[in-house]
């Protein structure tokens, strides 16, 4: 029930935030804050659950807060919510980044405030739903539901090219998700033929025999949809536009959370449901992963637009997720999960930084920046921190994730691991390039028009960045805190598909 309440609170909070604007322009923000606080409180008992609280569903152990209601019996569709260690961590990330995005929106969003926070909270609700839904139909509904508020966020509050970007974002994801829907239905029918029962429940579908070409095609349907969201290289095209054109809080949610839904899909569905097909597909998936890591890193270096650069770096980092999932190895899986969370934190930080700079300079072009360090040392130091976090400095979260993925995949596919490790050389190139162009070097004309006192970070922004920095350092030094939590879930997932 707790998870349901969590989703309901976010949906209702969104409506209230929308209505609150009529009372007072600022009221929406406070309603949103209150909603996030309530959802964090609701999440607390789940995050502190003792091992004995975990239930076993259909032979799968390690589940919390299982809720199953009948919904559309005609198709064996149920309202099935449940979370395991992986989902709880990702939901926690969602709520946490919700706070961050709210802080970044606090001053940037000045028009149609109520409608903004409505969309904002509904996106979060959709994402929480994705992480908690274990009925494939329900999963699909949440998968689509989060798109629409995000679409509105880009269209209404985005930057100059927002219409084009929003359209591209929506069409890419929607077209690929129709493929996902078709594959889901075909999988369910296959299971129906085999077991005589029609069901959309993940637990029931686990036993489906999906060998052969048909299984491979079904898996590809799922894979493409998740790859678009992740995104991976041939289908990544929407991301630089959407991230660049979205308002800062939109970029924070997109990079921090929405991309993780694709990664979560890979983890939760691809290998457990299609072990044979996924094994057969592994070489191609590894190629996609390595190409994503390297190509996107190279592209990032070529950008002049700050947000585009960060967007490409996201693609590069998410390549490690694909690599980890298809490494068929416990270490790599742990690394994948850590990479998802660490990238959520670091990319949120970078986009918040880019947003803060754009808010002040009204430009994102690196060529018009430079020499901001002396004027805004606090801001510069924070930017430095996130840049080196992104490049994978040991002691910070990203390093742990990437290192574990590489370690795990090296045992199985050394060549892929070696090639992907080159990404860790390219990352410093673009991260330091970003830093050099913006904060170091000669002072630019754009910048000197602003007085230093206006430019420096305010308390709200320092708080926002401080939270992210704290999270990254904590992850870097004590990754055990997280892995302990997700071990049970990862092990049982691994037993389903990856084998011992």
């Amino acid at each position: 029930m707790l998870v349901l309440w969590l989703i309901v609170v976010l949906f209702v909070g969104g409506v209230l935030a929308g209505l609150a604007e009529r009372v007072h322009a600022a009221a929406s923000r406070w309603v949103t804050l209150a909603t996030l606080v309530v959802s964090a409180i609701l999440l607390w008992p789940l995050a502190c659950a003792q091992p004995q609280a975990f239930e076993s569903v259909a032979g799968q152990s390690g589940w919390l807060a299982v809720l199953q209601w009948e919904w559309i019996p005609r198709f064996g569709i149920t309202f099935l919510l449940a979370v395991d260690g992986i989902s709880v961590l990702l939901i926690a990330l969602t709520i946490f980044l919700g706070f961050i995005a709210l802080l970044s929106a606090w001053e940037e969003i000045q028009t149609r405030v109520g409608f903004f926070y409505f969309n904002f909270l509904w996106t979060l609700a959709g994402v929480v739903g994705i992480f908690a839904a274990l009925d494939l139909f329900l999963f699909f509904i949440f998968w689509e539901i989060m798109l629409i508020p995000m679409f509105f966020i880009i269209v209404i509050w985005g930057h100059e090219d927002r219409y084009y970007a929003a359209l591209k974002f929506f069409i890419y994801t929607q077209a690929s998700s129709l493929l996902l829907l078709l594959s889901m239905i075909a999988l369910v029918f296959l299971n129906w033929q085999q077991s005589g029962e029609i069901s959309f429940s993940w637990f029931d579908l686990l036993g489906t025999k999906t060998e052969g070409v048909f299984g491979l095609l079904l898996m590809l349907g799922f894979f493409v949809a998740f790859l678009v969201k992740l995104p991976g290289v041939p289908v990544h095209n929407w991301l630089p536009d959407a991230h660049t054109q979205a308002p800062t809080p939109g970029s924070v949610i997109l990079a921090g959370i929405l991309l993780k839904t694709g990664a979560y899909g890979l983890l939760r569905f691809i290998v457990p449901l299609f072990p044979e097909a996924a094994l057969a597909f592994t070489p191609y998936a590894l190629i996609i992963a390595v190409v994503s890591v390297l190509y996107a890193a190279k592209m990032a270096f070529a950008q002049n637009d700050m947000k585009r650069l960060i967007a490409y770096s996201s693609i590069s980092h998410m390549g490690f997720v694909t690599l980890g999932v298809f490494s068929w190895n416990a270490l790599a899986l742990q690394g994948t999960l850590l990479q998802m969370i660490a990238h959520g934190l670091s990319s949120a930080g970078l986009f918040a930084m880019a947003g803060a700079i754009q808010h002040r300079l009204h430009t994102r072009a690196l060529s018009e920046m430079g020499g901001m360090w002396s004027q805004a040392p606090r801001m510069a130091a924070i930017a430095m921190f996130f840049a080196i976090a992104a490049l994978g400095l040991p002691g910070l979260g990203n390093f742990v994730g990437e290192f574990l993925v590489l370690l795990g995949s090296f045992q199985m596919h050394p060549i892929a691991a070696i090639l992907a490790a080159l990404g860790m050389i390219l990352a410093p190139v673009y991260a330091l390039y970003l830093l050099q162009k913006s904060f170091l070097g000669e002072q630019s004309d754009t910048f000197s028009a602003h007085s230093a006192s206006l430019f420096e970070f305010k308390a709200r922004e320092v708080l926002m960045m401080g939270l992210l920095i704290f999270g990254l350092i904590l992850m870097g030094f004590f990754p055990r805190l997280l892995t302990e939590y997700s071990d049970v879930a990862l092990n049982s997932l691994q037993a389903l598909g990856w084998g011992p």
Partner: protein, 490 residues
């Protein structure tokens, strides 16, 4: 005719009597509200009566009319879906200078045609129904020809529709004649016997092809779609909505019954032709809609595409397995219902912004700019309709699309489903384009968005939007009644 048959026939008689009563009333007093209320009451009464008799055994009344749960389902749908046609027309006519009362006679005759079609399993009643429907419709399309602010394109649309309707009717008639030449029977079931016996020859095949062409005109399948955008654009909004919903849906339902009961659906040639038409309709419909700036034309092309999607479920209904067949027929039924309610919302929104007293309709994309900020609720409702047409979850359109996917997958129509995915992705573009237009900052002054929305129009919007969301969130109730409706066909 026994007394039971007569009782069963009462709803049809009620619909038939509406136009007679209206004629009598009009000859004494011209009272717009009274006339519209009589029409409304007639439709609702007939609808309720048929609804009450759902689940009763099938009755064949003369060889022409069959009242089983399948026809009852579609009669109920026709009657209730005609209610908004009356309400919208009442509001539209009240604000225009034309003669008002005769419109309702035409409307009730058209509905009678639809009801006859829904209950027909014989070529004679099929033809009578089609003619009743389309003859009334081309008068309705060209209805607004008087007054100072008349719409110029109305007459053109009417003539276009009349000519093409005539062409399609002649195809139908010739097809029926050829089928009779081959089989010597005119009932759908009789044909099935003959096809099973192997008496099908070239004439019969030709006849079935001609029937498909005739029906294709009515459903505006590509390549018989040319008239659609012009007629949609030229007709007054309430008529366009009626044309888009009831007249198409009923013809499709009848097509399903004919193809299924006659066994023609099992023929390879028929399936191949349908698949060809389906692919063309999906791609051409969505492709041409991309270029439209006129909302009525856009909805016309979108409806072409939707009837292309439906073909997938139609072909899947030829499955040999009873479960899969039931699934495909449910898919057709659900899609038709979802399409009707969604289309009513869309046209309701169009009509809410129109100003018939000035002969202007809100049909241009730019009329919608900034609607979200001027009239948030109307914009939200219109967005729901567009998203439902695009097949986004929590709307009726999504469950309908889900059904088509399920039906297609059960019959392994992967190629057609692939085309469906591609064309849906194309379709998204123009639906989103309209939504984005509504999100853009409002321009200085837009007269369209200021006028108050009449009560009838609000009612339609609210009720139909509620239906769209209800069917999208909890479709089980409709699925169950569809289940019993198609059981008679199995």
């Amino acid at each position: 005719m026994t007394i039971e048959e007569l009782i069963a026939l009462v709803p049809l008689l009620v619909v038939a009597s509406i136009s007679v009563i209206l004629m009598l009333v009009v000859s004494f007093v011209r009272h717009h509200r009274l006339i519209s209320l009589i029409t409304l009451a007639g439709f609702i009464a007939a609808g309720i009566m048929v609804f009450q008799s759902m689940g009763q055994p099938a009755i064949q009344i003369t060889p022409l009319i069959i009242l089983d749960d399948f026809s009852r389902f579609f009669i109920v749908m026709t009657c209730f879906a005609s209610v908004p046609a009356v309400l919208l027309a009442y509001d539209y006519l009240r604000r225009s200078e034309d003669l008002k009362e005769e419109y309702y006679m035409l409307l009730s005759l058209a509905v009678l045609g639809a009801v006859v079609l829904a209950a027909s399993n014989h070529f004679a009643s099929f033809f009578i129904g089609v003619e009743l429907l389309s003859v009334s419709l081309f008068a309705m399309v060209g209805y607004m020809v008087h007054g100072e602010h008349k719409r110029v394109s109305t007459l053109e649309a009417s003539i276009k529709y009349m000519i093409l309707s005539g062409v399609s009717s002649s195809f139908l008639l010739f097809g029926v004649a050829l089928i009779y030449l081959n089989f010597g029977v005119l009932t759908f079931e009789g044909i099935q016997q003959k096809i099973l016996n192997g008496t099908l020859n070239g004439y019969g095949m030709m006849g079935i092809a001609m029937l498909l062409i005739g029906v294709g005109f009515k459903l505006s399948w590509v390549p018989f779609h040319m008239w659609t955008p012009d007629v949609y654009e030229g007709a007054p909004v309430p008529v366009t909505a009626f044309l888009a919903t009831i007249s198409k849906v009923i013809v499709f339902a009848l097509g399903l019954r004919f193809l299924h009961e006659s066994g023609a659906l099992g023929l390879f040639n028929v399936q191949a032709a349908l698949a060809f038409i389906g692919v063309l309709s999906m791609l051409v419909g969505n492709g041409l809609a991309l270029m439209q700036d006129n909302l009525k034309r856009l909805l016309a092309y979108s409806s072409i595409a939707h009837f292309g999607y439906l073909i997938i479920a139609l072909i899947a209904a030829s499955s040999a397995s009873a479960t899969n067949k039931a699934l495909a027929m449910e898919a057709v039924g659900f899609y038709l219902v979802a399409y009707v309610v969604t289309t009513w919302v869309a046209f309701g929104a169009l009509s809410a912004l129109s100003q018939p007293e000035h002969g202007i309709e809100a049909e241009n994309l730019k009329d919608y700019r900034g609607l979200f900020w001027q009239r948030p609720w109307l914009a939200a409702i219109f967005s729901v309709a567009l998203l439902s047409l695009a097949g986004v979850p929590l709307t009726a359109g999504f469950i309908a699309k889900f059904y088509v996917f399920a039906a297609g997958a059960s019959y392994t129509l992967w190629f057609l489903l692939g085309i469906l995915i591609i064309s849906s992705a194309i379709g998204l573009y123009y639906y989103l384009k309209v939504i984005m237009e509504m999100c853009k900052p409002a321009e200085d002054e837009n007269d369209f968005q200021k006028a108050a929305i009449p009560f009838e129009n609000k009612l339609i919007l609210l009720v139909m939007t509620a239906f769209v969301l209800y069917l999208g969130i909890s479709p089980q109730a409709l699925i169950e009644s569809l289940n019993s409706a198609i059981k008679v066909l199995m």
